[in-house]
Symmetry: C2
Subunit: 461 residues, 2 copies
């Protein structure tokens, strides 16, 4: 045999091998989708998490129950090592007083409110003050000290013109997080935020807010979109209207909680770890169905599907249900801290935290741009499943701390249209989740984990 022949033979064999691998991959991805749509357990697990546990703010009884339930469900799979990772979490409690009275001359009424997570309460007798409506931080700054002694109402309308609702949310959410301290800087006594939602209804949406040590802490709450429209009309009608705000939420000392972890060791490259997860905590209203029960059960389904289809991953798969995404990211930080201490090599981390809606693709980020380019190779295999969006964007809050060590961070991108109708409110409940939409997300995540476990971050070889 001459060298030319050997070279030709080598090329031929490589091509055959390449085609064969691609064929195996596409067959396996198809099997994963069929299994997930027909027999997957994500939907029934979400039912249990929502209807047996319900909401589960870090440090609450619900959070402890959620840890126990998901640990138990993962253990019944008998296919993986399940363990808890200790993490100290903040402990904020809403308690039972949330009241906003409105007095216009002789007319009195009240508006539904929802304390913002992390807020202090009011004195027991409440805060009685006039209201100032502003439409931006710029307007607040131009009013300056004129808001002293008053309650500032940030009436920021959620911008419906964005195609992705997350773009509108990121603009509005800064008012929820920074509203109280911005108003307190000028002497305001409390702040009210219009709920960040695409819906026009009477459900106030909570979410985190923050203080800084240098500025006096004032109470902060949200009103619903209908409540905001009412307040805005009322102040135009009667500039001297009086508010009476009563809240008794409080922050208690940090408490012990856990990340729930399930692991299947890789058969060929056990030291190369792929994380897939969502966050187990939720806000303390509704059931945290889309945010982020959906992401948790989708990640759990990876383990379940691998077992059902007899897939033995070449690399180590670690399902992580992170604690405390909503008000501290302590779970994500702790996970990355321990991974660093142990010198673990995380090649990729995938997070689902944008709701259990029809998946449209994966966003990705990495400090090593070559990995991002290679990651795109997987898109061809997954486009037949409606996964058309493979833009470079954001991975997720919980996996974020893994970025600095060069981990490829990947976020599931579902359809965003309904997410903020429910987000952080009492209507984020199990009945808002469609079985097929949720299962398609689980199948997308499982397929991607499979491909990464076969080929690493070199991309779709």
């Amino acid at each position: 045999m001459n060298r030319k022949f050997l070279l030709a033979l080598f090329i031929f064999c490589s091509v055959v091998f390449e085609l064969s691998a691609q064929n195996t991959d596409s067959v396996t991805v198809r099997k994963i989708y069929t299994y997930s749509l027909e027999k997957g357990k994500a939907y029934e697990w979400l039912d249990a998490l929502c209807n047996q546990v319900g909401h589960r703010l870090s440090g609450s009884e619900g959070a402890a129950k959620a840890v126990a339930l998901t640990k138990n469900l993962l253990e019944t799979e008998r296919h993986c090592k399940v363990y808890l990772q200790e993490v100290m979490v903040p402990r904020w409690r809403r308690n039972d007083v949330e009241k906003l009275g409105v007095t216009m001359g002789k007319y009195q009424t009240s508006v539904r409110i929802c304390s913002l997570g992390g807020s202090i309460g009011t004195p027991t007798e409440g805060i009685q003050a006039k209201m100032v409506e502003v439409k931006s931080f710029g307007e607040l700054d131009s009013l300056g000290k004129k808001v002293a002694g008053k309650i500032v109402f940030f009436n920021i309308v959620f911008d419906q013109s964005y195609i992705s609702t997350f773009d509108a949310y990121s603009v509005a959410a800064t008012y929820r997080y920074n509203g109280a301290k911005s108003a307190a800087k000028y002497g305001a006594v409390a702040s009210i935020t219009r709920s960040m939602t695409t819906a026009m209804d009477n459900n106030p949406h909570t979410g985190s807010m923050g203080y800084v040590d240098s500025i006096k802490k004032i109470p902060a709450c949200a009103v619903s979109t209908q409540g905001a429209e009412f307040l805005s009309a009322a102040i135009k009608n009667d500039a001297s209207l009086m508010l009476d705000l009563k809240m008794n939420c409080e922050t208690l000392p940090d408490t012990l909680s856990y990340n729930v972890i399930a692991e299947i060791k890789g058969s060929e490259f056990p030291d190369e770890i792929i994380v897939v997860g969502g966050h187990l905590d939720s806000w303390d209203v509704g059931q945290g169905a889309h945010d982020d029960g959906a992401g948790c059960v989708q990640a759990m389904e990876v383990i379940q599907t691998f077992k059902a289809l007899g897939i033995k991953p070449k690399r180590t798969i670690r399902v992580v249900l992170f604690m405390n995404e909503e008000n501290g990211t302590r779970g994500g930080k702790k996970y990355a801290e321990i991974a660093k201490e142990k010198g673990e090599k995380h090649i990729a981390a995938i997070e689902s935290d944008a709701g259990g809606f029809t998946p449209q693709g994966f966003g990705s980020e990495c400090i090593d741009s070559t990995k991002l380019i290679r990651f795109q190779n997987y898109s061809q295999l997954m486009k037949p499943y409606g996964l058309h969006n493979w833009s470079e964007s954001w991975g997720g809050v919980d996996i974020g701390p893994l970025k600095e060590t060069g981990t490829l961070l990947i976020g599931l991108v579902p359809d965003s249209q309904r997410y903020f109708d429910y987000h952080h409110s009492m209507i984020d409940t199990f009945d808002k989740v469609n079985r097929r939409e949720l299962q398609l997300g689980a199948a997308a995540m499982t397929s991607l984990v499979y491909l990464l476990s076969e080929h690493g971050v070199e991309g779709g070889k």
Copy 2:
């Protein structure tokens, strides 16, 4: 000036003109989306159609009310010529008796049913017979005359493994349409079909069925998916179980109804017509919200948006709300017949009849393949709005009869995951429609009509 310079000047001007046109188009499309998401009326019109009118089967009082309501709504736009086009439609009535009793030894129960559209009723005293369950036409054929005197139960499970639920529906729907005649051929006395739905619940789904003159007509109904699971379990438990079927649906003589049409004359090419529509009739259960109230109000929004933004189309725009898609397509056929008689030139027809869910693109079909290729040129302008699916496929039932004259047929393709949960059932109601998802579909249709009205079917110049 020499010829080379003139040529260069010409090319330069062409490029500037081209870029300028593209820029104008992208600005207008963005304006259409912003308007539709912030101020569009499709959602409030659908509320009126569903909650003031409700379901509206051809020939029913509801259908007459829907014609009056939509004509009135379009006339208030004062921007277009609104008229009715007469069409004779079939008139089938469900009436008030729909009952399926099940006797197993001493145990008696009943299962919810829904007569299939077009079915005859049973004798007043009902049909008492044994049941045979089949899983396919092949199984029915192999049983042959053994089903004589019995009720055939087509227990065809909706195939959840398809990514587009329409693919599963097209497989299953043949059993609904052809089940009765296939069973009657072997002497069966009635047929029952498992509902064609992605959901596991107790809502039976109706839909059209057909007879042929050469085979005896037998009654046909649907059971819910839970009902089907029950019947299947029951027959395994007791092969001699008896059914007692009572239905009093009937077919009355054809009656007069209407297509509702609104037209804006084109400023430059008034003889080139672009049709955009949905179907105004629905099945006689639920509110016909997704099927196809959504398509109607999205088409109506084209007129409304053009008026609000001051867009004067170069080509003639005709919004057509077709009557009788569900059980005869008489409206679509009549429209095409009259268009042919008048020698009208329809360059394109767009239909929305797959639900008011997040739009994913447009399917297209045409006997002139060059138009299909040119049509793809529009995709680049619309991909930023999530419209990634531009496959060659199917336009729609109502616009179908326009195909033979070379019209480019285009169907809006929305996310399909939830559609068959509701389709043809009592839960296809207004509350199942998300405002943003519906409005995005309206914006997609309006944008496409705008582009076609500017550039014809030459594609995105």
